[in-house]
């Protein structure tokens, strides 16, 4: 909320500061709508029940995601709630691809059971066992899809069900704000201005 207010203040300063109150008066409804959307979308969801995945599927999906972006000193896919994102999009934006995803997941689980890599399911394996098993399938389309969905679940707007508490954005140093002012980073601070070239090409 604080962040959002800061963002809105900066946004208004950027908009109003350049063209003044008249422009802002005319365009405020549009700008307010954009800012409202950003606020609602950043709030995310709070319930943690699964819409599509069974508990057994969810355990494996979460385990794979947690190998793609592991936990540690900083939050990973697990803390960002990537599994909730992956569940939610199967009934949402990627519903048309859900049968393909679920078939891929079923094949992954079936192959694992036949592989003799361990008793139970993939999620029951230890960390190094999981990593070596995934190494063996990292070029499969299903793993590619899992990587795609894990990244999206980490970094998409929290309203899609992941990026919980903006954990993914914090990981990559991204701040969702509507407006910025220079300097943007370390290297453009104190830039002396563009120095023209001497006429050397006639």
């Amino acid at each position: 909320m604080d962040n959002n207010n800061t963002s809105r203040r900066q946004f208004l300063r950027a908009a109003g500061g350049t063209l003044g109150a008249a422009w802002l008066g005319t365009h405020w409804p549009d700008l307010a709508a954009a800012a409202e959307h950003a606020h609602a979308a950043a709030a995310g969801r709070t319930d943690h029940h699964f819409r599509v995945l069974t508990p057994g599927q969810a355990r494996d999906v979460e385990a794979i995601a947690a190998q793609i972006v592991p936990s540690g000193d900083t939050p990973g896919a697990r803390e960002a709630g990537v599994v909730y994102f992956i569940d939610q999009v199967q009934a949402g934006v990627y519903a048309s691809a859900a049968p393909e995803f679920l078939a891929g997941l079923a094949a992954f689980q079936g192959d694992f059971a036949k592989s003799g890599a361990g008793p139970g399911q993939f999620a029951d394996l230890g960390g190094s066992g999981q990593r070596s098993y995934l190494k063996g399938i990292e070029t499969t389309p299903f793993f590619g899809t899992m990587r795609f969905l894990t990244v999206l679940g980490l970094l998409a707007l929290p309203s899609y069900g992941g990026n919980e508490g903006k954990a993914g954005w914090k990981l990559v140093g991204f701040v969702d704000q509507h407006a910025w002012e220079p300097p943007f980073g370390h290297y453009d601070r104190g830039y002396p201005g563009f120095e023209p070239y001497a006429k050397e090409r006639g």
């Binding site: 908009a15 365009h27 793609i68 972006v69 592991p70 990244v151 980490l154 990559v172 910025w180 050397e200």
Partner: protein, 550 residues
């Protein structure tokens, strides 16, 4: 004055098909010249409030693009292959909305250089290609480039690049504030004796013609601008066209056939309205500005008994010579934060390798710029090298994102008749119309030039003091947002589709102006030239109409 609304039985002076970079300019020029203009746009009309900071929806759910479910495309490498349906993301992509791709473009507004128009004469033929001179030269287009800069709105610094072609006026707005990526590109390039300079961008750096300046929100490439600071035709040309009281922009109107009579004149167009009802619009003349993919497709779909190979296609070149511009990336990570997710994409570019140099052993030229690419999701998905794509190494790379940047290269694509857009013989879109089929292979020289530029990018990043540098994968293109060459311009009706004034050789009252008019690809960043061509074409077409020469 209010926008015009034409009745169903009215005959308009001009139907303009498409409201994007070219269509918006064309509509304004013809309406301001006193003509009644109806613009038919297949997409919807968005307002600034409809554009959201939602990377998933925008980049990974095609929010602004053609929906691959309802507007499918197929792709193949050669005519011997079976074209396969493209899933997830279109091969030829453009924003389907009023303002077209000028909404979601990056805004890199490079002028072509003088050599771009006459390279065939300067360098000679390239066997196996349809490499040719343009029928116009830089001097003829220069006043219209200036018009784009002043009337559409471009920020930049005149005279900054020692390679720039002559110009009649400076830019109307100063360059956008430099980002850390621009400073680092400049630092590395200057160390190597190159000449980096502030990027010309179609984004307002200061309030301009009733629009506010950029707020540096960072959701720029691929996104619509909620500030109206990006100089999209949605915010610039189209409102000015409507303000004449002689122009209507009719959205959700999908033109599927240009109609002709027994005298080989265009009579109007047939289109589906928003309820998918078939309608006919009478017009004295038609101007196609539907982009390099859809313009060609529309001409091919308009085949009839008199024109069995499609309209304006006596040369057989409609849809052929499709060109993209090559694109390759160099990734770099520095010691301190750059925070490239802020502000516009590009603030510094290098044009030292613009001209083709026979010493390199292949044809080609290009430039490169400093940027990050789209926002965090796309960088995370596509930037990491294969051995750091997941696990602890991947995570450490994600944590380095604030310190990362990209050098993006932009280069020539040679025109090849085998590279084309045509109609898929089997697949249909949701309106029952033939899907677009794309056939494309890069010429070996195109890939060689892209690789050459990529190697220069590596050197620049190393000279700038990067801690890590790696090259992005350089592979043959399977799609692009640069849709060029498919109705090329020329003096000879045997080897071109439109003449030097954008009139089709075959049909007197049918004109075409968009990326399809290009004869060669330039070095990347085609929109500036598309709009300059549109200003010039609009000027000529209005004069033809005033003189009764249509």
């Amino acid at each position: 004055m209010n926008a015009r609304a034409f009745g169903p039985d009215e005959t308009v002076d001009f139907v303009v098909v498409g409201s994007g970079a070219a269509g918006g300019v064309m509509a304004r020029e013809l309406a301001q010249a006193g003509f009644e203009v109806l613009v038919l746009e297949q997409g919807s009309r968005f307002t600034a409030a409809d554009f959201k900071h939602d990377e998933l929806d925008t980049w990974f759910n095609n929010a602004l693009l053609n929906n691959p479910e309802t507007s499918p495309q197929t792709f193949r490498r050669t005519a011997q292959d079976k074209a396969l349906r493209v899933r997830d993301f279109p091969s030829l992509w453009y924003a389907r909305m009023v303002g077209g791709s000028s909404n979601h473009f990056t805004g890199n507004f490079w002028r072509f250089h003088e050599v771009d128009f006459k390279e065939r004469s300067l360098l000679g033929a390239i066997p196996g290609t349809s490499f040719a001179d343009w029928p116009i030269d830089y001097a003829e287009l220069e006043p219209y480039y200036t018009k784009v800069e002043w009337e559409v709105g471009v920020s930049g610094l005149a005279g900054a690049s020692p390679f720039d072609p002559p110009r009649s006026k400076p830019y109307p707005m100063p360059p956008l504030p430099v980002k850390s990526s621009g400073v680092l590109l400049e630092r590395g390039a200057r160390k190597l004796g190159l000449h980096p300079f502030p990027a010309p961008m179609a984004i307002a750096s200061v309030p301009y013609r009733g629009r506010p300046a950029c707020a540096h929100c960072g959701f720029c490439i691929g996104f619509g601008c909620e500030m109206q600071a990006k100089s999209s035709t949605l915010y610039t040309m189209i409102p000015e066209a409507e303000a004449t009281g002689r122009c209507e922009v009719r959205s959700d109107s999908y033109v599927f056939r240009v109609e002709t009579n027994e005298r080989d004149r265009v009579t109007g167009v047939s289109y589906f309205d928003r309820d998918r009802r078939e309608r006919f619009q009478k017009a004295k003349a038609v101007v196609l500005c539907a982009n390099g993919a859809e313009t060609a497709r529309l001409l091919l779909m308009s085949a009839n008994a008199k024109f069995p190979d499609g309209l304006a296609n006596s040369s057989g070149l409609v849809g052929r010579n499709l060109m993209f511009n090559t694109y390759a990336e160099v990734h770099a990570v520095f010691e301190h934060e750059l925070n490239e997710y802020k502000s516009v994409q590009v603030t510094r570019i290098v044009h030292d390798f613009y001209d083709s140099d026979p010493q390199r052993g292949f044809y080609g030229g290009g430039g490169f710029d400093a940027r990050i690419g789209p926002n965090p999701i796309a960088w995370s998905l596509f930037a990491p090298p294969p051995d750091r794509a997941w696990g602890a190494e991947f995570k450490s790379l994600l944590e380095a994102m604030p310190r990362a940047m990209v050098v993006a290269t932009h280069g020539t694509s040679l025109p090849l008749e085998t590279n084309r857009v045509d109609l898929d013989p089997e697949l249909k879109d949701a309106w029952g119309l033939p899907a677009m089929r794309v056939t494309y292979r890069d010429h070996p020289d195109d890939l060689a030039m892209a690789g050459f530029l990529q190697d220069r990018g590596v050197e620049v990043m190393q000279a700038a003091g990067a801690q890590q540098v790696w090259k992005g994968r350089l592979t043959e293109a399977s799609g692009s947002p640069h849709l060029l060459g498919t109705c090329r311009m020329g003096n000879d009706p045997q080897t071109s589709v439109v003449d030097r004034h954008h009139r089709t050789h075959d049909i007197r009252n049918l004109f075409i102006c968009d990326g399809s008019s290009f004869v060669t690809s330039g070095r990347g960043q085609p929109t500036m030239t598309i709009q300059a061509l549109a200003f010039r074409a609009g000027d000529h077409i209005a004069r033809f109409a005033q003189r009764g020469e249509i």
